[in-house]
C-alpha cells in the first residue's frame, strides 16, 4: 500500500479528543484520529484497548461522553446509527449484525427498505438489486430465499459488505472483517478493500493481525488502555515496532506519539 495519499486537504473524518467511560472505567480517553479519502487506516490494540468502542462512537452505536467528530471538516452530530448512515458512514461489524431469521435481501435493505408507491415493501425489487450487487462480490451465490443463519461465514460476510457497498459508503468501518473467513474469502475482502480505496472511500480497519494491517493499511493508530499510543505510517515502521506499540505502548521514532505512549514527555521533547 505505498500509493501516496494526499493528506493536506480536509480529512474525511476527524475524531477529536473522544471520551467514553463505562462506570469507572475509561474505555476511550482523549483519543484523536483522522482519515483521508482513499486511505485505509488501521486501529490496533489488545482486547479491551478501546478500539471497538472508538469505532462504535463513530458509527453511532455508542453515544460518546465528550469529543467532536468532523466529517469533511464540518462538525457532525452522530448520536445513533441513523445519524451515521446519513453521513454515509457504514459499518461492517465483527459479528456481522445480521438478522439471522431474514434472507439476504431483507438484511441488505434493513432499515432502508425499497417500497412500492403504496408504501409496502417491494421484495421483488429488493431481491433483484441484491442479486446484482451480490453477483459482483460472490457470483456463485444462489440462496436468496434462505434465512442468513443457513449461510456460510463468507456468504454472510458478503451480505454485510454488499450492504455497505450498495448504499455508497464514503466512510467504511470494518471490524475484523476477515476474522471468521477462509483463505479464498479473505482474498475477496482484500481485493474489495483495494477497489473501494481506488474509488476514494476512506476505510477504518480494526484488526489484530499485524501482517494484514501491514499489507492493507496506509497508516495505523495503536490504542492501549483506552489511550492512543501513537499514529504511524505503516511503510515507515517494522512489524516489531507495531508490536512494541501494542504490547509496551512505546511509540517508535517517526511515529506521532499520542497521550498513551510511555515516556511521552521524552518523545515530545
Amino acid at each position: 500500500m505505498s500509493d501516496k495519499i494526499e493528506r493536506t486537504g480536509k480529512p474525511l473524518i476527524e475524531m477529536c479528543n473522544m471520551q467514553k467511560a463505562f462506570g469507572g472505567i475509561r474505555a476511550v480517553d482523549g483519543v484523536s484520529i483522522d482519515l483521508y479519502p482513499g486511505e485505509v487506516v488501521g486501529v490496533l490494540g489488545h482486547n479491551g484497548a478501546g478500539k471497538s468502542v472508538l469505532m462504535k462512537m463513530l458509527s453511532g452505536a455508542i453515544q460518546r461522553d465528550a469529543g467532536e467528530i468532523y466529517v469533511n471538516g464540518e462538525l457532525a452530530e452522530i448520536n445513533n446509527p441513523r445519524d451515521a448512515r446519513s453521513y454515509q458512514i457504514e459499518t461492517i461489524y465483527q459479528y456481522l449484525a445480521l438478522a439471522d431469521n431474514l434472507d439476504a435481501s431483507s438484511n441488505l435493505f434493513l432499515g432502508r427498505e425499497l417500497t412500492t408507491p403504496l408504501g409496502f415493501v417491494n421484495d421483488a425489487l429488493m431481491e433483484a438489486e441484491t442479486r446484482k450487487i451480490m453477483g459482483r462480490l460472490t457470483p456463485n451465490f444462489r440462496r436468496f430465499h434462505t434465512p442468513v443463519a443457513g449461510l456460510s461465514g463468507g456468504q454472510r460476510q458478503s451480505v454485510a459488505i454488499s450492504r455497505a457497498v450498495y448504499f455508497n459508503a464514503k466512510i467504511l468501518i470494518m471490524d475484523e472483517p476477515t476474522a471468521a473467513l477462509g483463505v479464498q474469502e479473505t482474498k475477496m475482502v482484500v481485493d474489495l478493500v483495494d477497489e473501494l480505496k481506488k474509488q476514494g472511500i476512506g476505510i477504518l480497519l480494526i484488526d489484530h493481525d499485524i501482517h494484514q494491517v501491514k499489507t492493507l493499511c496506509d497508516r495505523a493508530n495503536v490504542m492501549k488502555n483506552g489511550k492512543l499510543v501513537g499514529t504511524v505510517v505503516v511503510d515507515e515502521v517494522t512489524e516489531d515496532d507495531m508490536l512494541g506499540m501494542i504490547i509496551a505502548g512505546k511509540c517508535p521514532p517517526g511515529g506521532i506519539p499520542g497521550p498513551g505512549a510511555i515516556n511521552s514527555d521524552n518523545a515530545a521533547a
Binding site: 438478522a99 431469521n101 431474514l102 434493513l110 427498505e113 434465512p147 443457513g150
Partner: protein
C-alpha cells in the same frame, strides 16, 4: 427449499415432485393435517356415540362418518364463532412473541375494554349523553371508546417495556392483576346487560351476513386471492425470476377457491330455526311465507376475524413495521445498528395487541350479550398456546399470523370436540396441555430436520 434454480433469467424448471412444484409451506400443511385428523376423529367418535344412543353400533366406519355430529354445519358454525375472540388476540401475540416478549395481560385487558364499553352503553350514553335505547350511535361510540382504551393501555405497557426496560413478563403479569380488577371497579363488580342490539351483531349468531351476502363475500374473496396470486407471479416475471409452472399456480388457485366457497356453503347451509325466523318476520310486522327457510351465512364476527387476519398478515409481510418486528426478533442488536427504533417498535407492538384485545372484547361481550367480571379469564394462556401451537417460537424471530389462527382453531376444536363426546372439563384441559407440549416438540424436530 427450491431456491437453487433461480439466479437470473427465467430458468427452465427442473422436473420435481408434486409438492415441491407447488412450493407449499410444509409446516402449514402439517397444521392443516393435524386439524383434519382431529376433526375426523371427533366426527367418527360422535358418530359411534350417536349410533349407540339410537340402537346398535354398525361396524362400518363410513356410517360413523356420516352419523357424526362434529362436522355438521351447525357445529362448524359454532366452532368458528367460538374461535374468533382468541384468534384475534393470537394474531397480536405473534408479534409480541416474535420480538421475544410475552403478554400475560390480554385476558384482563379484554375485561377492562369490555367493562368500558358496557359502561358506555348502559350509563354514559343514556344518562350523560341522553341517547335513547337502541340509538344507532351507541354501538359505534362504545366500540371507539373500547378501541381507545385498549390502544392506550397497550401503548402504556409498551412504554414500560421499551423505554423503562421492565421485562414484558413482569409488566404484563402486573397488568394481569391490575386490569382484571380495574374492570371490576368500573362496573362495581356487577354483570352489565343486555348490551345494545347493534353491538350484539358482532357476537356471532346474532349477526350474520345471510345467504346472498355470504356468497357475494365468498366470490369477492376468491377474486382477491386469485388476483393476489396473479400479480405476485407477474411481479416475479417482471424481474425475470423463476416462477412456478402454470399448472401449479392454477392448482393452488383452485384449492383456495374451493376452500373459500366450501366454507361459505357450509355456513349458508346452517338453517335459521323456523321459530326464530317467524319472530324476525313478526318484528318487521310481516308474516312469514309458508315453508320459508334461510341459512345464517357468514357471522359478522368471523368476517371481523378475516379482516384482522388479512390486515395483520399484510402488516407482517408487506410493511416496514412488520419487517422490523421480525428483524428485531431475529437479532435485536443488529436491528438497532440498522437504525431501527426498537423501543418505539415495542410501544407499537403492544399498542397493536391492545387494539386487538379491544376488538376481541367487542366479540366476546357481544357473544354472551352482557359484560361479566370473569370475561376473558385465562384467555392469556389460550392466546399464548394458540400462537405457540401455530409455530411461533418463543426464542423469537419466527411465527406466522395464519399459524396462530390455525392454532386457535385446533385448540377450540379439541375442546368442543371433547365436550361433544362427553369428556369432562378437567380432562379436556389435560389433553390441551399435552397437545401444547407435543406441538412444540414436533416443531423442534421439524426445524432440526429441515435445518431452518
Amino acid at each position: 427449499m427450491t431456491d437453487e434454480t433461480n439466479n437470473t433469467g427465467p430458468t427452465i424448471v427442473k422436473p420435481k415432485g408434486l409438492f415441491a412444484a407447488l412450493e407449499i409451506d410444509t409446516r402449514l400443511m402439517g397444521m392443516i393435517g393435524a386439524f383434519i385428523v382431529i376433526a375426523l376423529v371427533f366426527q367418527i367418535w360422535t358418530g359411534i356415540n350417536a349410533q349407540g344412543l339410537t340402537g346398535d353400533i354398525a361396524w362400518n366406519p363410513f356410517s360413523w362418518l356420516i352419523d357424526g355430529r362434529f362436522l355438521t354445519p351447525r357445529n362448524i358454525f359454532n366452532l368458528t364463532i367460538q374461535t374468533v375472540s382468541v384468534a384475534i388476540m393470537a394474531t397480536g401475540m405473534v408479534f409480541v412473541i416474535v420480538t421475544r416478549h410475552i403478554d400475560l395481560s390480554v385476558g384482563s385487558l379484554l375485561a377492562t375494554c369490555s367493562a368500558m364499553m358496557a359502561v358506555v352503553q348502559t350509563v354514559v350514553a343514556p344518562n350523560w349523553l341522553g341517547l335513547g335505547l337502541e340509538n344507532p350511535m351507541i354501538a359505534p361510540l362504545a366500540i371507539v371508546v373500547g378501541l381507545i382504551t385498549g390502544a392506550a393501555i397497550g401503548a402504556f405497557h409498551g412504554y414500560l417495556i421499551g423505554y423503562l426496560t421492565i421485562p414484558a413478563f413482569i409488566v404484563t403479569l402486573g397488568g394481569l392483576f391490575v386490569w382484571r380488577n380495574v374492570a371490576w371497579h368500573l362496573t362495581g363488580g356487577q354483570t352489565i346487560g343486555p348490551l345494545d342490539a347493534n353491538f350484539q351483531l358482532f357476537g356471532g349468531i346474532n349477526g350474520t351476513l345471510g345467504v346472498t351476502w355470504s356468497w357475494i363475500f365468498g366470490l369477492l374473496a376468491v377474486a382477491v386471492a386469485v388476483y393476489g396470486l396473479f400479480s405476485a407471479r407477474r411481479q416475479r416475471l417482471s424481474h425475470e425470476f423463476s416462477v412456478k409452472p402454470v399448472w401449479a399456480e392454477a392448482t393452488i388457485a383452485a384449492v383456495i377457491s374451493v376452500v373459500i366457497l366450501g366454507f361459505v356453503a357450509v355456513l349458508n347451509s346452517y338453517e335459521v330455526p323456523t321459530r326464530r325466523l317467524a319472530r324476525l318476520f313478526e318484528d318487521r310486522g310481516e308474516i312469514m311465507p309458508e315453508g320459508f327457510t334461510t341459512g345464517y351465512g357468514l357471522p359478522i364476527s368471523v368476517l371481523l376475524l378475516i379482516v384482522v387476519v388479512v390486515g395483520m398478515t399484510v402488516l407482517a409481510t408487506r410493511t416496514r413495521l412488520g419487517r422490523y418486528i421480525y428483524a428485531t426478533g431475529g437479532n435485536p442488536e443488529a436491528a438497532q445498528l440498522a437504525g431501527i427504533r426498537t423501543r418505539l417498535l415495542t410501544v407499537k407492538i403492544f399498542l397493536i395487541v391492545g387494539l386487538l384485545c379491544a376488538i376481541s372484547a367487542v366479540v366476546a361481550s357481544a357473544r354472551q350479550t352482557f359484560h361479566s367480571n370473569d370475561i376473558g379469564t385465562l384467555d392469556e394462556l389460550r392466546v399464548i398456546a394458540a400462537a405457540v401451537i401455530g409455530g411461533t417460537a418463543l426464542a423469537g424471530g419466527v411465527g406466522t399470523i395464519y399459524g396462530a389462527v390455525l392454532g386457535a382453531l385446533i385448540m377450540q376444536s379439541l375442546q368442543s370436540g371433547m365436550a361433544m363426546v362427553g369428556v369432562d372439563a378437567p380432562y379436556q384441559n389435560i389433553v390441551v396441555g399435552v397437545v401444547l407440549v407435543l406441538a412444540v416438540w414436533i416443531d423442534i424436530v421439524y426445524r432440526k430436520r429441515t435445518g431452518s
